[in-house]
């Protein structure tokens, strides 16, 4: 009897969670769908944001995400390579790991403060794509390192041993054998981080985002509009919140579609890889 109650509760929890996700997505879809059109995605906003599209925000998010990846991916993969392939002293490894774990725990608004204090003001990069990308890049660094480490560890040791036994140096082994085999895993694992970079608001609030840019960014030193910030700003600080409500929903739908779409692709690819591993 107790077992039935318990099992029902447990099943119910899983159900509640699924319903929550489903409910949120459904609601957003239903409310935002009517606004979505080719124009919405390709045209800039007009009439104080009450009409028109959100193209500059989409573009801004794309730039910021690419920038974050450009910063985070090389650094993350390199860190992971060091930790899995080269590092020997336990103290050093521990120190780096503590650093990574702590970095992972830093709240996004503190990252925003850091980005503001360091990139925008101290390095005088100003509020720009550059500052935003750097801040976001470091935000997702722990995720990328984790995913890369996992992928690198998954490459069988025998590959390395075979390579070394043929006289190939460690660096060449890593570069030509281990890394290519780990790359799919690294990329799918990092995609969750990339999704996060696209969706984060607090880190870009003071480092890159603007309410409205009349033209598309011309350089990395320009401010940009960005999807998450656009949602926030239209919903709380806009000039006509009620009138722009449908556009807010539309923007949310676009952002959610992009982020969840990327995540889903990663999940599917990962499942596929797991089933069809060559080794």
């Amino acid at each position: 009897m107790k077992q039935t109650i318990f099992f029902t509760l447990v099943r119910a929890s899983a159900l509640v969670i699924t319903l929550a996700l489903g409910g949120i997505i459904l609601y957003i879809f239903l409310n935002g769908f009517s606004v979505i059109s080719w124009d919405f995605i390709t045209k800039p906003p007009t009439d104080s944001m009450t009409k028109g599209g959100i193209m500059p925000a989409i573009l801004g998010t794309v730039y910021l995400t690419f920038g974050a990846v450009a910063v985070g991916l090389p650094l993350g993969i390199a860190s992971a390579i060091y930790l899995t392939e080269y590092a020997r002293q336990r103290r050093v490894i521990r120190l780096i790991r503590v650093g990574i774990n702590c970095l992972a725990g830093v709240p996004s608004v503190v990252f925003g403060l850091f980005g503001l204090g360091f990139f925008v003001i101290y390095l005088e990069l100003g509020s720009s794509i550059l500052s935003g990308s750097l801040t976001l890049g470091f935000l997702i660094l722990p995720t990328i390192i984790g995913a890369s480490e996992e992928a690198l560890k998954a490459v069988p040791q025998t590959f390395r041993e075979a390579s070394l036994s043929l006289g190939v140096t460690k660096w060449q082994t890593t570069y030509r054998i281990v890394l290519p085999n780990a790359l799919p895993g690294i990329l799918t694992g990092s995609i969750l981080g990339i999704g996060r970079a696209a969706g984060e608001t607090a880190p870009i609030m003071f480092t890159a985002a603007a309410y409205f840019t009349a033209k598309l960014p011309g350089s990395v030193f320009d401010e940009v509009m960005a999807l998450p910030y656009h949602i926030y700003v239209l919903a709380t600080a806009g000039t006509n919140i009620e009138a722009t409500r449908p556009i807010q929903f539309g923007t949310v739908l676009v952002l959610v579609a992009v982020v969840l779409g990327i995540d889903l692709i990663a999940i599917v690819i990962r499942g596929y890889m797991r089933r069809n591993k060559r080794w």
Partner: protein
């Protein structure tokens, strides 16, 4: 592997190239949410005539604009209040010399939910409400409902103006909700029969009910004549006298064309402009 390296390299090059060819003419405007519709409207109109200029606009509050001017992260600071002496000091210490340009006039209007029976309040009553001393609408002749005080957060010039006209340095009750913009206040009051808030005249629309203050209704006329007690100037501040594109823009805003936009957005133009716009018909 090589392909990826080339791609990454290519992106980096693109970025650097883009960075080097920075836009020659750019105007960054930050500040007041009250002035935001004016800024956005004039920006859009200005852009049509001057497509070569890169402009970006942000809200956040008058305080944000002035701070951006001081930190040199904005070219124009829009503000619905005068710059404070402390801010001028801070600016000078950083080599920034703020110059004020009045671009429009505004009236701050207390608003309530359309179903609220109260029509008129005195300045004193407003002060008591916002300090948290009057807590029920029935004390003011309305229904027996709790008063929900809605205010702007501290970066707001509108908040500062309210402080100047109504609070006179008394503290707003900590129970007040602090919202980020005029727009947010409109939404909050429209949905909440307990609420009271205050807005710039440009934000008035049918979803909220304006109150009279001391028996005077706010309108373009009463604001211009200063009969309405909460009339104020709307500013754009620049660092020193404006140059080039910034000067052109400011001249545009003050011109008849620019002022037509001001009227269209529901604010009070600098001079009698006979254009009655979509919003703000009083």
């Amino acid at each position: 592997m090589n392909v990826i390296r080339k791609l990454i390299f290519g992106f980096c090059m693109l970025y650097f190239a883009a960075g080097v060819s920075a836009a020659a003419d750019s105007i960054v405007i930050k500040g007041s949410t009250t002035v935001l519709p004016v800024a956005q409207g004039t920006l859009e109109a200005f852009m049509k005539a001057n497509p070569g200029v890169q402009m970006s606009l942000s809200g956040g509050g008058s305080g944000e604009g002035i701070k951006a001017l001081i930190d040199k992260t904005a070219d124009i600071a829009t503000s619905s209040r005068e710059i404070k002496p402390k801010e001028i000091e801070l600016a000078k210490s950083k080599g920034v010399h703020p110059v004020a340009h009045i671009v429009a006039y505004d009236a701050i209007i207390p608003v309530v939910h359309p179903k609220n029976k109260v029509k008129n309040l005195t300045v004193d009553q407003l002060g008591q409400i916002y300090q948290g001393n009057i807590t029920n609408w029935k004390e003011l002749g309305g229904d027996d409902l709790k008063i929900v005080v809605i205010s702007r957060d501290s970066s707001s010039g509108t908040f500062e103006s309210w402080d100047h006209f109504v609070m006179k340095k008394a503290k707003v009750t900590p129970k007040a909700q602090m919202l980020a913009s005029n727009g947010a206040l409109v939404t909050a009051v429209a949905k909440n029969k307990y609420a009271i808030a205050y807005l710039g005249i440009g934000y008035l629309n049918k979803s909220v009910k304006p109150l009279q203050v001391n028996g005077i209704t706010a309108s373009i006329q009463t604001a211009m004549s200063k009969e309405y007690p909460f009339s104020r100037e709307l500013y754009m501040y620049t660092n020193g006298e404006p140059q080039n594109a910034v000067a052109k823009y400011l001249a545009f805003v003050k011109s008849t064309q620019g002022q037509k936009v001001v009227a269209k957005e529901g604010f009070v133009p600098l001079t009698e402009v006979q254009k009655v716009g979509k919003k703000g018909k009083k």
